[in-house]
């Protein structure tokens, strides 16, 4: 397996894990409308797994195709990281401080991780970030 494909699959797997953490922390740490953070996290997880599946079935050597599906998938979960960052502190959810801290960390890690992944893919495959 090519190193880039392996890298992308590892990144998407870690991101899936972060969404699972987000779902658990949202369920345990929010006092109102718990279902919102859980449902959002599950939706993010499903989208990331779908992107991971697309990457997995991309043939070896199809660098441009791999770059395209990786960039598209990465944009989606990078964008969704903004939801953790901006929605978790909303007073209506009554999120415990420790849970809020974890959700913010999850959001910012995903955001930074996403930015790095995008530029790494662009460097290695040459595809546009606006593909």
């Amino acid at each position: 397996m090519g190193s880039l494909k392996r890298f992308v699959m590892v990144v998407f797997s870690i991101t899936s894990l972060l969404f699972i953490i987000g779902a658990i922390v949202g369920y345990v740490g929010a006092t109102n409308y718990t279902i919102h953070l859980v449902a959002f996290s599950v939706a993010g997880l499903l989208l990331t797994l779908a992107s991971l599946a697309r990457v997995t079935i991309t043939p070896e050597g199809a660098t441009e195709r791999l770059g395209e599906v990786s960039v598209q998938g990465t944009w989606i979960w990078t964008s969704l990281s903004l939801v953790y960052i901006t929605m978790s502190p909303a007073s209506i959810y009554g999120t415990h401080p420790w849970a809020l801290a974890i959700l913010e960390v999850v959001g910012f890690v995903m955001l930074a991780f996403g930015a790095y992944t995008l530029f790494r893919i662009k460097r290695d495959t040459g595809v546009y970030l606006s593909i």
Partner: protein, 458 residues
């Protein structure tokens, strides 16, 4: 040979008047994100909110879905022209309106009206910033309008790459936040039972509701080729448009409309979100949502001006229009003698003149060219490139636009139940078709003068 790409330099930048080359074309997902970026704006939610005064919850659903389907079909047809031709809307118009006709209609379609909307949206951006953070210097209406305008200019200046990268970053988050906020707000105000029981002050027919929805976005539908010209396969952009408007536009309209049914008039989803402590989400959706929409306004306006005035590059037009638009927005914010209502009235008036252009374009590409002028192959139906000869004025199309505009203008006075957007579109469609049929059958010249395309595509 059909669809042979003539060698043309991209003098104006971002393929403003030339075909987008194969290697620069983008995926369907990319175009979906750009379209959704246009839709992801508070003004669209406010548009939905205004439906609450005339419809109940289920009527809002039906009007939103059916109106969106009609818009989806119209823009599918228009977008597909861009998918085949790979040039912006204003260049496409050279074939149905003639070269001078394309200049004039392009300026009405985007050059002036989109620039006006850029100003309005920039001012609205300032208003949202001040409402969200009332006690900061940087969020005063006029100050926020200035830095907001500059932000919006930045991606328009980069061009399509800038628009689409920003949309990729913003759209998924925007379409996650708004439904979450809506569901929370509905729960706060009595839940789904209260929503279904809520009644508007007045009821209107479903047809009126559908018309309202169509009117909200018909201009966006007409300039779809500005984006779909980047399609790898002709249908990509059209399908992206259809999905974005049929699946996502009802969500936005329902978000505004449903909430407005439950809260006092004038209280918006923005105020509700602030009340629920979602200040950072308001800031995000306000800044970047407005940004992804308004940069498209400026981008389309710059493309129309490139088609209208020679030798000035697209990026220069972005700067000229962006600076003027931002200054106007800031001056409205400061109350320096510029009437917002006059600006809006003028923008709305221009909006009346746009659906006939849509009708002419659809009639020309799908009926006039293949069946009257015998250009059956859609890929070669419209030719572009150095040396291509256009009519200086294709008078049947131009007359279709003028008469269609007059009909659309007087429709509310003569037949109030008939939507002006629809009457204008149908009038443009049939007048162009019938006049061209008469010209072809009677061997009457339908072009006044000739125009030869230059090496730079102008």
């Amino acid at each position: 040979m059909v669809n042979q790409e003539k060698k043309t330099e991209d003098y104006y930048g971002d393929f403003a008047v030339v075909r987008v080359p194969e290697h620069e074309r983008r995926t369907m997902m990319n175009q979906l994100m750009v379209f959704l970026g246009v839709l992801a704006v508070w003004a669209a939610v406010f548009g939905g909110a205004s439906m609450a005064g005339i419809m109940d919850a289920w009527e809002i659903v039906w009007a939103s879905v059916l109106g969106s389907v009609v818009l989806g079909v119209i823009a599918f047809l228009i977008g597909l022209i861009g998918g085949y031709a790979s040039v912006p809307t204003y260049v496409i118009l050279r074939h149905s309106m003639g070269r001078f006709g394309s200049i004039l209609t392009g300026l009405v379609l985007s050059g002036i009206s989109a620039a006006l909307w850029f100003s309005f949206e920039t001012w609205l951006f300032g208003v949202i910033m001040q409402e969200t953070f009332p006690n900061f210097v940087l969020t005063k209406v006029e100050i926020a309008a200035i830095w907001g305008g500059l932000l919006m200019m930045s991606t328009a200046l980069i061009g399509y790459r800038g628009l689409s990268a920003l949309s990729y970053f913003v759209v998924p988050a925007w379409f996650a936040i708004i439904p979450m906020a809506l569901v929370a707000a509905i729960s706060v105000h009595g839940g789904w039972g209260a929503l279904l029981a809520a009644q508007p002050a007045h009821h209107v027919s479903l047809a009126t509701g559908i018309t309202f929805v169509i009117g909200l976005y018909i201009v966006g539908a007409t300039i779809a080729p500005d984006v779909t010209r980047y399609s790898r396969r002709p249908f990509d952009g059209s399908i992206a448009w259809f999905i974005h408007v049929v699946v996502f536009m009802p969500i936005i309209l329902m978000a505004g409309g449903w909430l407005q049914l439950l809260v006092p008039a004038g209280r918006t989803l923005v105020a509700e979100m602030i009340g629920m402590g979602m200040i950072w989400a308001v800031l995000l959706t306000g800044i970047v949502g407005q940004w992804t929409t308004n940069d498209n306004n400026l981008y389309s306006a710059s493309l129309a001006w490139v088609n209208a005035v020679p030798r000035i590059k697209r990026s220069i037009w972005v700067l000229i229009l962006g600076i003027i638009g931002t200054a106007v927005a800031a001056m409205i914010g400061m109350g320096y003698g510029i009437s917002l209502s006059a600006l809006l009235q003028f923008g709305t008036l221009l909006g009346t003149f746009i659906p006939p252009i849509t009708g002419v374009m659809i009639a020309d590409f799908y009926l006039v060219q293949p069946f009257l002028l015998n250009r059956r192959n859609p890929r070669g139906r419209y030719e572009f490139g150095p040396g291509t000869i256009y009519g200086s004025l294709r008078w049947p199309g131009f007359l279709g636009w003028i008469l269609g505009s007059i009909i659309a203008y007087y429709t509310p006075m003569v037949a109030p139940q008939m939507p002006a957007a629809i009457s204008g579109l149908l009038a443009g469609f049939f007048i162009h078709l019938i006049l061209m049929a008469i010209c072809v059958a009677g061997r009457i010249p339908y072009d006044a003068g000739k125009w030869r395309e230059t090496e730079t595509g102008w």
